[in-house]
Amino acid sequence: MNPLTCPLPVFDTETILMGHGGGGRLSADLFRNIFLPAFGNSILGRADDQALVEIGGARLAFTTDSFVVKPLFFRGGDIGSLAVHGTVNDLAVGGATPLFLSAAFILEEGFPLESLRRIVSSMREAAQRASVQIVTGDTKVVEKGSCDGMFINTAGIGIVDTNLHLSADQARPGDVVLLSGPIGDHGIAILAEREGLSFETDIVSDTAPLHSLVADLLAAGATIRCMRDPTRGGVASSCNEIAQTSGVGIQLEEKAIPLRDEVRGACELLGLDPLYIANEGKLLAICAPEDAERLLDAMQRHPLGRCASRIGKVTSENSGLLTMRTALGATRIVDMLANDPLPRIC
């Protein structure tokens, strides 16, 4: 029997699907099959959230991110604050002190100036809070119907201590996985405001700049291997990436993962797994086992890390896979996200 003759077709890969922007497996395919071969260089090949470049002896972190969140305003934030935090966080998790940002706006014809003012003002506040300056930018306007209100792109640079080497390929068996707080708040807050999903909740997006939390952690003198802010694709996708890049297994403890009852309830109702839901102000850190307590303590002393906990460990078994010990004591895989349950989350 030849299973290849089954009449079901393979996934249509010749067209861009929403899943290609979901931060899961399809996004990774796009990077690996289209972008990396075209632009290939050793810096891009590291596939971290930020590029690390050396210029005249200084180590700079450089990153960019586009924001297409729908709706533009949501509980706890808006596209403007998100665009600043997103880039600041991509720099911070590389161990960089964020310094300068660019902001490029793609505006739809007919977009109200009042909304633009609100968003820009929110960006200014977010930049102040993150101690970065927005030093360059661009504006383009497209015909009505060519974009959904507005999209923003931000890029940023920051400076990295020359002795620091954080990367997704650094995790080693025995390392400990720490998480700064409850997961899924951003994704569920956005979901609650979407057309067609009739449920109400008080959940607020966790969008926040992580630079000062990261600074506190770096100052704690612990051996940190790698940090991530688990945005699109959630904690599951970040951990999967680290496991694959480092060639190790990562095992999470279901009972140890912080999760608000409201988020859990919404996920139960909608059939979603909170491990895949986006966060915009959470930090995932992998550190040497002997430093775990010290790092956890430093996290918990920061306002953004009060509910931090030790959620898992790095293993030599199940290389390249993320697994989870369930509340009942069995072990299951937590797979890479195959298709985005909810597009345009950030």
């Binding site: 009449p7 699907l17 009739s198 309830g265 509340a327 009942l328 299951r332 195959a338 298709n339």
Partner: protein, 367 residues
């Protein structure tokens, strides 16, 4: 969280597991009917924790898995028409028809929208009177009442731009087909708790009488399932075959009478084709003639595609509980959730998908 934590409690689960271990003296093959139950079993690793003499096989209760590709082809054909908005559940959008899925149709410009309730589809129809809004509805007795209600309301409001494209299946005829099959291995069934919540228990009592096989209604949390398994094992070891309900917090004997009333008013029982299992007599629902104006199959001039070619993947054996996903040579290598060769790999509730998602680390056959 109330009504969840107590049914996922590790100590309670351990106690039930010990009790099952004490009771079991012979090998037994049990089938959970519903894909949601399969999902829980794999997600919590219940099959790993149970005594090895208990074999769980996975039933046909994943609605997406048993939906014939032809209805997806009809949905995709409709979605590609300029004046049609095709609305459905997220799960269904990525189920392949014979050529593409609805997500791909959307990427090519079709107006395809995802909702969580058919009533949201009604709302889209009310707000877009210039569009023909077609709700693609599949599923068991659980989803059928809400779909019936959507058609009933459209009828009452005179909403003439809402249509239902439906492929509804019924559980008891499928159990009958499995139990009557000469190669049946299943010695006890865990009946689907949500279906019984709607339609009640009497059909399942009839099946117990007819086939002298124990049937226990089970819920969807690990403790619910362990209670159902304990109930079945106890009966089997004592040589009994009875009906029992272990999901009493949701299932009453008569079920949800209001839901049954709207089901009867809007739908009638009809022969139905199941992907993987073929045609089963009187195992589906179709809109009654009174509601023909809302029946997409009657209103639109849809080319009826040819009957499906027999699938070479082993999904039929899997849906009948004769083989496990891991018995398939394609599993995890050429057949994955991104490029599924068979329906049980497509839906998140499908048995192959559940094995792939949760269990492939313990399988040596993976590439």
């Amino acid at each position: 969280m109330k009504y969840l934590d107590e049914y996922r409690d590790g100590r309670l689960a351990a106690r039930l597991l010990r009790e099952i271990e004490r009771k079991v003296a012979h090998p037994w093959v049990l089938m959970e009917i519903c894909g949601g139950q399969t999902h829980t079993i794999m997600r919590y690793g219940l099959d790993e924790l149970l005594p090895s003499s208990i074999e769980l096989v996975h039933g046909p209760g994943c609605p997406v898995c048993v939906t014939p590709a032809s209805i997806l082809d009809r949905a995709i054909e409709l979605a590609q028409r300029d004046d049609v908005t095709l609305v459905s559940y997220g799960d269904l959008l990525r189920v392949p028809g014979t050529k593409i899925d609805l997500f791909s149709a959307k990427a090519r410009g079709a107006d395809v929208r995802m909702v969580y309730s058919p009533l949201d589809a009604l709302r889209i129809a009310r707000l877009n009177s210039n569009r023909k809004v077609v709700f693609l509805a599949v599923g068991f007795e659980t989803t059928a009442p809400a779909n019936a209600m959507a058609v009933y309301q459209a009828h009452r409001e005179g909403l003439d731009n809402f249509f239902l494209l439906a492929s509804h299946v019924l559980v008891p005829p499928a159990i009958r087909a499995l139990a009557a099959s000469p190669d049946n291995r299943v010695q006890g069934f865990i009946a689907p708790g949500h279906v019984c919540t709607v339609v009640g228990c009497s059909d399942y009592e009839d099946l117990v009488q007819e086939f002298h096989v124990p049937i226990v209604v089970g819920g969807f949390e690990p403790v619910d399932l362990l209670q159902a398994i304990l109930g079945l094992v106890t009966q089997l070891e004592e040589g009994r075959a009875e009906f029992a309900n272990e999901y009493t917090r949701s299932v009453s004997y008569r079920g949800n009478l209001e839901a049954q009333r709207i089901l009867r008013e809007v739908f009638e029982v009809a022969d139905q084709s199941w992907r993987g299992l073929g045609e089963i007599p009187q195992s589906g629902l179709r809109l009654r003639g009174k509601f023909a104006a809302w029946d997409a199959d009657k209103v639109f001039d849809l080319q009826v595609p040819q009957a499906e070619a027999p699938s070479a993947c082993i999904s039929a054996e899997i849906l009948k509980g004769l083989q496990k996903p891991t018995d398939c040579s394609a599993f995890g290598s050429v057949c994955t959730p991104e490029s599924p060769l068979g329906a049980p790999m497509v839906s998140s509730e499908g048995a192959c998908s559940a094995y792939y998602q949760y269990r492939r680390h313990s399988l040596v056959t993976i590439q």
